[in-house]
Structure formats: C-alpha cells, structure tokens
Symmetry: C2
Subunit: 507 residues, 2 copies
Amino acid sequence: MFKPARHGEVGGVSLQRSQQQKPLRSHDRLNLCAEMSHKIVNLRVRDVRFPTSLEQHGSDAMVRSLCSSFSTRVHVRIHRHSHKNETFPPPLMSTLQHTDPDYSAAYVVLDTDSGLKGFGLTFTLGKGTEIVLCAVKALAGLVIGKSLQEIVSNFRGFYRLLTSDGQMRWLGPEKGVIHLATAAVLNAVWDLWARAEGKPLWKLLVDMDPKQIVSCIDFRYITDVLTEEEALDILVKAQEGKKQREDQMLKEGYPAYTTSCAWLGYSDQQLKQLCSDALKSGWTRFKVKVGADLEDDIRRCRLIRKMIGPSSTLMIDANQRWDVAEAISWVSRLAEVKPLWIEEPTSPDDILGHAAISKALAPLGIGVATGEQCHNRVMFKQFLQASALQFVQIDSCRLGSVNENLAVLLMAYKFQVPVCPHAGGVGLCELVQHLILFDYICVSADLRNRMCEYVDHLHEHFTSPVVIQDAHYMPPKDPGYSCEMLEESVNRHEYPEGDIWKQEIQK
Amino acid sequence: MFKPARHGEVGGVSLQRSQQQKPLRSHDRLNLCAEMSHKIVNLRVRDVRFPTSLEQHGSDAMVRSLCSSFSTRVHVRIHRHSHKNETFPPPLMSTLQHTDPDYSAAYVVLDTDSGLKGFGLTFTLGKGTEIVLCAVKALAGLVIGKSLQEIVSNFRGFYRLLTSDGQMRWLGPEKGVIHLATAAVLNAVWDLWARAEGKPLWKLLVDMDPKQIVSCIDFRYITDVLTEEEALDILVKAQEGKKQREDQMLKEGYPAYTTSCAWLGYSDQQLKQLCSDALKSGWTRFKVKVGADLEDDIRRCRLIRKMIGPSSTLMIDANQRWDVAEAISWVSRLAEVKPLWIEEPTSPDDILGHAAISKALAPLGIGVATGEQCHNRVMFKQFLQASALQFVQIDSCRLGSVNENLAVLLMAYKFQVPVCPHAGGVGLCELVQHLILFDYICVSADLRNRMCEYVDHLHEHFTSPVVIQDAHYMPPKDPGYSCEMLEESVNRHEYPEGDIWKQEIQK
C-alpha cells in the first residue's frame, strides 16, 4: 500500500515530541571534538536483512532476466528444508531461492570511550551481505584506537588510509565489496562526528568552513577535472545566500520523486491504485521500471502517463538491462510518454556507452541518468567529461561516504549537471537527504531539474526516519546521519539468527 | 638471487620424467565429458599466503606511498605479540604491519564424483584474502551439484549465473572481491575441463571448435564493439596456419620479459647483479618500477639502460602512482631511456585519463600499458574504443577467468592492439601462459611487440610450474590449467594456521 509519510508521522509511528521541537544548534567550530576526543574503542558490524523479496518490492528488469539465462536454474533453488544436510552452513543456502532482492545492510556501530556511538551502514540486496561484513572486519583494525578528533583533523589522510592499504587495495581499488565496506565504516564515522557536534549531518556540513570541507576530500585521480583550489572557490562563492537557502529548506523541504508506484512485479490494478493514492498525497514526479518486455513497458508507461497527466514528471529506469544499440531503440519507442530520463540503460561501467545513448536520445528530449552503481569519483569524473549523463545519481553507500560524495557534488557543479540522488532500499533515503540538502544550500543553489528519489519502505526501522511533507524531504533535526536502526529491528532481522529469518527458514 | 628456470628444471626442482615425456593428446571432441559427467560434489577454498613482504619483492610506488598519507600511521601497526589481547581475532591483526605485499591466493579445489579434481585460484596481496574466501563460499551454492558436462554445454549461461545473481550482483557487478572470487571458481572449472580432456588448457582451447569458443563468452555490454558473429569470423579466419604456429610454440615458446630485476625495494648493487645475471640467461626485455621519486627513477633507469644496451627493450611501471598531468610530465622526463611503455600511470578506472596520457606520450614514442586492475570486459572495451592503451595487459585472476579473457583477446585483435599479459605474483605466470599461447595460435597470429611478463617467484609451489627457456615460456604439457599447488606448500602457507605463519606470529 502506498502510504506517504506526513511531517511528524513516519510509517505510522508518530515522531517523539522531543525530536520535533529540538532546536538546531549552530556551532561554528568543533566544540565537542575539542572538549572530548571520542576514542573509538570498538567496531561492531551486523548482517541485517529484510525479506522484501516475498512481496516483490524492488523487482526490476535485471533480477528478472537471470532466470532465463541458465537452463538448469533448478539447481540454484535450494529447498528450505534440506539445508541441514548440506556441506555448507545454513547462512549460505537459505537465501539462495530468492531472485528478487531482500533489502539488507551491513550495519556498523562504533563505540567510543566517551559513551558516544556512531552508526553507519551500507546497503545490499541480501545474499553476500556476509562478504561485506567480512570486509568491514578487515578494515576495523584501521579504525579502532583512533579518536574522532584525530580522524577529522586529517580526514583526507584517514580516507586514504582506508582506501589505499598496500595489501587490501588490490581487492578494489575503491570498488565492489571493499568500497561498500569503506562506505559503511565512514558513514558511521560521519554519524559520530555529527552527534559529537549535536547536529544533523547536513547542518554539520552547512556550518563547516569551506577549507575544512575541502580537507575531507581525496583529490587523487580527479585533479585533471577539479583541483583543491577550484573546489574551494566553488564553496566560497556559494556562501552567498546560504542562510536564505537553509531557511527555505527548513520551511519547504527538498523536492522528492517516488519510485513506490511502479515496480515490475506489480499488477496494473496495483499500479493504478498506488498512482492514484500518490497523486492525492501531492506527488508530481514518478519513476517507472522498464526493460523486461517492450510492449508491456509501453502499456504500463501509457497507463501511468494517463494517470498523472502531461504536467507531471515521468522517469523510466531499466536497471542496466540493455546493450547500447538496444537501449537506444527501446527508449526511442517510449519517447511518446515523454520521460525526463532513462536511468541505467546499460552497464554502470560503460561511460562511452552512456555517452552514445545520451547523444542518440538528446533529440528526443530524453536525458540519461546513472550513478547508483557508479563505483567511485574517478568513474563519475569520466561520465561528466564524456557528457555521458544528464543527471548525476549519487549514492550514500556505494561511494566512499560523505568524503567521496563531496567530490562528486563539486564536479557535477563544475559541469553544471544536476544531482538527483539514488535512494530507496533500506536507509538510503535517511542518509542521502543530508547530502542533497548540503548540495542545494552550499554548492548548487539550484532546484531546476533536481529531486531526490523516495521509496516508501522500511523507514519504520530507524530511530530518526525521513519525514516527507507534500512530496518534499523535510530536513532532519536529530543529531547524526539518521541511520541508527531500532535495536529491536536489528535483533529481529539479523541474518540468520533473528526471529524473522528463523521463521522463514522453518516455513 | 635471479635464477631463471631452464626447460626441464624449475626453481631448482627437476620436472618428473612422466611430465616431460607425456605426449599431447589431440581430441577434437569432449570425449571424456561424454563418457563421464563429473558432477561437482564439493568446493573447498583455502587462504594461502607467502610472506614475500619480508624480502621487499613486489615493492612498488603505490604501496610505498601509503605511509606518507596519514600522519598517525603508527596506529596501523599492530605488534605481533599483542594480538591475543585484542577484541578482533588474530587472522585480522597479524598481517596489519605489512605494507609491501604478501603474495597470496584464494585457492579453490573442486571435487567431483568421478574422483577428478579441478584446481583454481585468484591472486591477492595478503590482507583481505579472507574476504575473497567468503565470496567464494557465497558462490559455491551455484556450483556444487552441477556436472562439468552441464556447465560446459552452456558455459555462457553458467558464467551469467555466477556474475548476475539477482542479489549478489549488487556487490559488483563484475568487479572487486566478488569478481576475483568468480575468477577463482571459474579457473578451477576450466582446470577441471582441461583435465577431463587430458590436455593442458591452452591445447583444449586450440583444439576447440570456434563456435564452442564463442559459446563460452558473455557478449552482454560489448556488442557495440564485438558481436558473436564478428568473434566467430575472427576465429574462423585464424584457423589458417594454426598448426604451424602451434608447432612453432612447442619448439620456441612464447617470448617473455622479466620484472624480477628492478623492484623499488632493491639496492643499485642488487639491480646490477640481477640485470647482469638475466642478460647472461638470455633475457632481452626488462621492466623497471618507477613513480616514487623522479631523480631516483632517472638514475635507476639510466643504470639499467646502460646495463642492457640500446637494442634491448625497457618498460617502466608506475603502479597507478600519478594523476594525469603528473604522469605526462614525469614520464616525459624518462623518455631519454626510451621505454617501450609506461604501465599503469594512473587510476585503473581512468579510461579518459589514460587516453590523454597516450596522446601526450605518443610523440615521444612511449605507449601506455594497463590491465592488471582493469576489472572487466566492459572496461577493456572502452580502453580500446578511446585509444587509451597501446598494450593490453590481461590478467588471469582479475577478469572472469578464461571466458572473459577470450572476449578481451578478441576485442584487442579487432582494434589491432597487442596483448602483453600481466603475470608474477603467485600462480599468475602458470595461468596466463595458456591464454597467450591461445592468443598467438588462434587469434593474433602475430608476435610483434608482444611478450608475456615473467617474475621468478614461488613457482616451486606448483605441481606443474612454468618452464622458461631462453626467455621464452615453453608450452605446458600437463593436463589442466597449471595452478595446482603442492599439498605441502598449501599446508605450510595456509593462513594463519600454517607453519610459516605460526612462526611469523611467534617472532
């Protein structure tokens, strides 16, 4: 059911009074850091999985294509009852029957000697989360023993330490599992920093001196497009009007679009109902999944365009389903429904492919959007250099946390390409809203063609869930990076020991 | 000490008589497969590490740059004696003190119901190998229970199954840890196939029908550059002269170059001695590590150029040390020593950066080589499209095994860019020699500007180690993919339980 959250109410749970009324603090300096060093004494990481595949939320063209690729796929299916007799342990086998995603997270908690904690996560799709956990543990030795003060006083160095370890760098560099783990760890460090300052993360960034922001960024491999001096210059110039924009955001929020209406697994009846509900709640921007079957796509896109009318915005998302030529011909057939963008038309690694698609679709008025699987700043740099995208979709858990996202926001600004963050999954909305608020207030100062993805799933598991009001993200007020989960949710969904999974395995 | 292996003698160990005399079998069809299905009943994976960092083998500019990037690096160093009191287990902590690589492998053994085994590995640098093991285990469920016959009769589907699992694909796709794990598993499957056919892998490929070769390749995301039909056409045309080239290889071997002389950690005296020994053993192609200090590089390169004379070939390797502008200016200063190529001048992800460097260095007669960290065929495709490299350095353990390497060999042929494989580490020479033999015999039919890297390390741990004769790789004769390790070596070097590591930890 589509159920957009109202301000003060999220996922049916009323926000605590203290949270709504808590005033923002506007420190200009790292007061708390100066008072206390917050030495990190432990790092815990947990495998938290939500069985979303059971309801076909998150179903897209790519996961649906797998089944047709190997004729003997029956071997992939492991019967739930049989795993106890297998050589491999149950944790491996018991999710093998899912092809749709189980939204999951490698969830990190940092403990400090002051009692303050930092919470971070990286998003995953179920199977393989245990690999990310293993990678987080491998990074833990670089984090434990350091104080927050020590880290943030040389954050670029710390970022480099995590991403350039002489032995572990081979496993990336800065890509795949090891970079997802880096994101989880650094997200927790940023959360810790914001809590230490008593501010939500976006406000920590907004109040930060431009020089300090730049000092968090590793410019290695991007200086041919953005130097430290240029970055500083952009941030200093954007100081003008900053206060106004912050006030505007606090009042109006940041525009959002919804992906909750049109997953591939939904029936037409479901689509219509969800669309109708969303329109009533004030949504004007909609994204539809495409790519599995062209005729089906045409029918579904027409249906939605008819529902939302000509003035609303429609985007389409293929989740990497096509090769270059097929992307161009398929999307051309969908031009009649006037999509603003086609998202992930092909491999996320294919910069030149995206450039070719962009060029072919430009005359039809359709842009190309990508980024949720763009693995680091070096890739984003080239997508921008090659005019291979018209919408930059940053992700809070794929890139190396805030540090690397700052680099991408600044490069996007330099190329004057709008940033429209990827969100959804579990925790992604909670995290990325902070980044896009900072982008508007301190970098882009522009809302044209800009909006942040919103999916109405799993927010109820967070202590400070997103607040959506009239299809806008309202700025978070609680200190931190908004990705602390309710302890009970973590316990219930921990894989495979949590109650939810014990029940699934017993079925 | 430099000690090139002679034919029939590797690393001081004489080859077994049976191995030298075993004749090549030239089946045209999958006889053994037809006779027996070889159902895979178990997959074992082990963490095998060699403490190479103790001797500074493998030292390059990148691992050496880490130390300067974070002032408080002392925290990274964990005292060997203290780990028992830490929260984290010894496997994590005990290698943290190394910055130079410990050549390692995630080593896979497939057991079948026929008793035949398949051996595969992916190469790593020490720390983090346990993460790759975890990923291999996550893939195991897709392999166990399938027969070799079932896999190879739809190898493209099986490749897609491993790389496109609906949930695990998020962790890549086709990059980083999950793709290294895929390589290890598929290398073992190819080894099993070659053993089932009673042939060394290169010979299995050489004897294979072009249609069957093409059926092993996943063309997804590369059809804008190479279609299945084009690939088939290339292979069919190269059938001419195949027998001659095979005979030539059996007689002369495939040309090699050596990287054993000039690691950054070696003294000038060591450099001279190694160079002198190598020249005596017939080596004419040498690679030098550069990138840590320009004046030092100039001195060392001059020294080596003087030693080897003007007619020998010199290559330089920066291991991703620079940004684009710095790469161009640094390498321009080294032009006087006439290097054939500069290898890995910048980020392995930076296609457009490599293109800019290629363009700038072309007038100096210096090419750009890269590939050992080029993570999949989509990236290689673009490097070729953008004229971003003049030498393709395939890797047997980074790409998705033989399947993906076949795609890259064929694309390189289409662009007429020579392939010069990356090797060294542990097992890489053993594996990649098969691929480059196939490339010459069945694809390129060309030896100009082509050679395969050779490093004189750790061959003694393999049951069928490489055979180097007069600076040429002599075609392997034993059935399989040459990466079976001696059981005793695996036991001694298994991390952290093996004797070698127990001793290290006790020191």
